[in-house]
Symmetry: C2
Subunit: 417 residues, 2 copies
């Protein structure tokens, strides 16, 4: 088998050399794994069902809306309640899928079986045909509420239901979309956003996004060196192409990113062009990140097995929740890769990612932070939920450790259709 420089750098043998070359190679441990190892990792039990002695029968799942804020409430036969904020932008359009297809499956089931239920709802009534973001966002919204319910009953944070809550403070980075603005203006805005929260890392956009060309032209070529120059050698920089390129152009831009010590290169090619992505990864030394739009566990397995990406990024909503995303993280761990979830859900999406990082050892060093929403009145006794000096404290209360203002909940309407 041909071993190129990148593969060498990313073996454990090459780790020291990778560091010596000055790049912050976060994936120095990437190694070849067999499909059997990946399947074993994906099948590892995720939820600690043994924490619960008695059945927890789900009796109601309500989708609630107050203003533009959507959330899910789940109730058990014994009167326990779990709540989770949904993905506002998405659920506004997908709600009939939640109400007509997803929620009915969970009613009457035992919440302790959540792991099997997440798989069950996928194959039930040929729901697998709906594989994709609209289906999984609904499953995730329900799963989050059930995890909160389980946390309330066990008196434990989600991190202790799904693993071991070890990381209490999570470093975050700022990302943004300044496409259409000049490189100079993009950097100016980024600087402001980064300084506001004292972040030690940031992610910027390159290319024009899938199907579009760079705007203004040459923005990317100017932006990459200007980012490094402005923020200095100690700032951790990440770049996201959102599927802008075919292979040759992706490699050309990737070489620039390498030159300026960007730590990863997200979605160089169309998200479903997995073999093109692999070609880029095989050619470059910079780690490739991807998986935000991925909805198939099988394809994540393919990506990891073929080293098509070196950082996997399931979106906790888009991929169907914590349990499925932890399976991806477990497969990634078997290959020595990081699994840094993508965040969607501008309301409290970043809190879910912070929780994910609290118990997933290979969740990566920095999580994305979008800022606390002012529209969603949330109380939290164990964290301000605000980033300070580039760090957010993980709530330690039961479930997600937050409470939606009771008045806000009471004034919400149930969306049944």
């Amino acid at each position: 088998m041909k071993t190129n420089r990148r593969e060498f750098l990313k073996t454990s043998l090459g780790a020291g050399i990778g560091a010596a070359l000055g790049g912050k190679l976060v994936h120095a441990q990437t190694r070849k794994v067999s499909l059997e190892e990946l399947d074993t990792a994906a099948k590892k039990s995720v939820l600690k069902a043994e924490l619960f002695k008695d059945p927890i029968t789900i009796t109601a799942i309500d989708l609630l809306k107050n203003g533009e804020e959507w959330f899910v409430r789940v109730r058990s036969k014994d009167g326990a309640i779990g709540m989770a904020v949904s993905n506002n932008e998405r659920i506004e359009v997908f709600h009939p899928i939640l109400n007509k297809i997803v929620a009915p499956y969970f009613i009457g089931k035992d919440a302790r079986q959540l792991e099997a239920l997440v798989d069950g709802v996928y194959v039930y009534d040929s729901n697998y045909k709906l594989q994709g973001l609209p289906f999984w966002v609904c499953v995730a919204s329900v799963e989050f509420a059930i995890l909160d319910l389980l946390g309330q009953i066990a008196g434990k944070p989600v991190g202790d239901l799904l693993g071991s809550f070890t990381r209490k403070e999570v470093k975050v980075y700022r990302a943004n979309n300044d496409r259409g603005l000049s490189a100079e203006e993009s950097v100016r805005r980024t600087k402001k956003r980064v300084e506001e929260i004292g972040a030690k890392a940031l992610k910027f956009k390159v290319g024009g996004r899938l199907g579009f060309t760079d705007s203004p032209p040459d923005r990317t070529e100017k932006l990459i060196p200007l980012m490094r120059k402005t923020f200095g050698d100690d700032m951790v920089l990440m770049a996201d192409a959102n599927g802008s390129y075919h292979v040759a152009e992706a490699v050309r831009v990737g070489r620039m990113l390498e030159e300026y010590k960007i730590i990863f290169y997200e979605e160089p090619c169309a998200f479903d062009a997995l073999e093109e992505t692999k070609q880029v990864a095989d050619t470059l030394t910079i780690p490739i990140a991807g998986g935000e739009q991925e909805s198939s566990l099988w394809r994540f397995r393919w990506m990891i097995h073929n080293n098509a990406v070196q950082i996997v990024q399931p979106d906790l909503f888009y991929f169907g929740g914590f349990i499925r995303s932890v399976r991806v993280a477990n497969m990634a761990a078997a290959a020595g890769m990081e699994c840094t979830p993508h965040i969607s859900g501008s309301s409290v999406g970043y809190l879910y990612v912070i929780h994910f990082a609290s118990f997933v050892p290979n969740a990566g060093e920095f999580m994305e932070y979008k800022g606390k929403s002012e529209k969603m009145p949330i109380h939290c006794e164990t964290s301000t939920l605000i980033c300070k000096d580039g760090i957010v404290r993980v709530p330690t209360g039961p479930g997600f450790g937050i409470a939606i203002d009771p008045d806000f909940v009471n004034q919400a309407t149930v969306v049944a259709g």
Copy 2:
């Protein structure tokens, strides 16, 4: 490169031998194509925009519902109207995607640009993140109505807008889902359904469907020989596993299908397990069919390029309409493969497939027939729309050549949300 028996049979050199072996090898021409050839085929212009001299500005797209029947009406600035029946089962749950995401994009656009619009709506506002059945069913429903509009204006059937209307009579087959019934009962029911329409071909289900085991046990083992015995050597038999198996079991069942001269084997493995499907195809001689749930043109390209399937089956609704499905057919043609679309939409879904076969040369010999819906009052002057002696006549009127009863349309309500 290793050439196994199947590959040999499916080269044009081996075609005669394939026939001589007694199997109805419908794919004797399968050949290796380059990615460049596939890209050229996929990029071929589909819609004959040159038929229309003046702009056709789309001014309104309405989703209408009467009882359980859903349809789309599109209007142009000049007062032309196009109508298309949607996929009732799906649109009932996906309608906000059509109304809030898909339809607005088309308003104000020129219908002659339909080919670019179908691509445009996918990348617009990052809609590509929704890749999957819920998004594409909505795009297809709108595309069908626009095609009907264009057909009304040009005074031509859809087949002449998208190609050359050559096949006026289409042979059909009957499929069904008798899982859970004994092999004997399945055959008895199949016989009745086949005789009703004089079909010369039929498709039956094997395995338990994705995630389920065969029920009753050994149903498949009994069913395969009983089908052949009951219907005799002249009946064209197809088998559909709906993703029931992993590789070893898929191969075991495939050997039985080969023994009994089944002409193709649909979805032996999970629909997204493309490499497993390829392993099965590489091992067996029976052609493998697949693609019903596929929503990515890129992955169809992969399947064809790697000969992972020998018959591609985009669903005209699930894959986003005629134009995208013809692109798959054109790629398949470059590889000497058939593209036999899957049909969903129990109402008049089969009519769309019949139209597809009217102008796509490699659409396969038999299309699926689900029977004319009694709930949807449709008039057609050029065809009974009913199967007789295994044949359905393709409507030759403008657009889809059918008219929804005007009273039924007038009594329908517009679903705006």
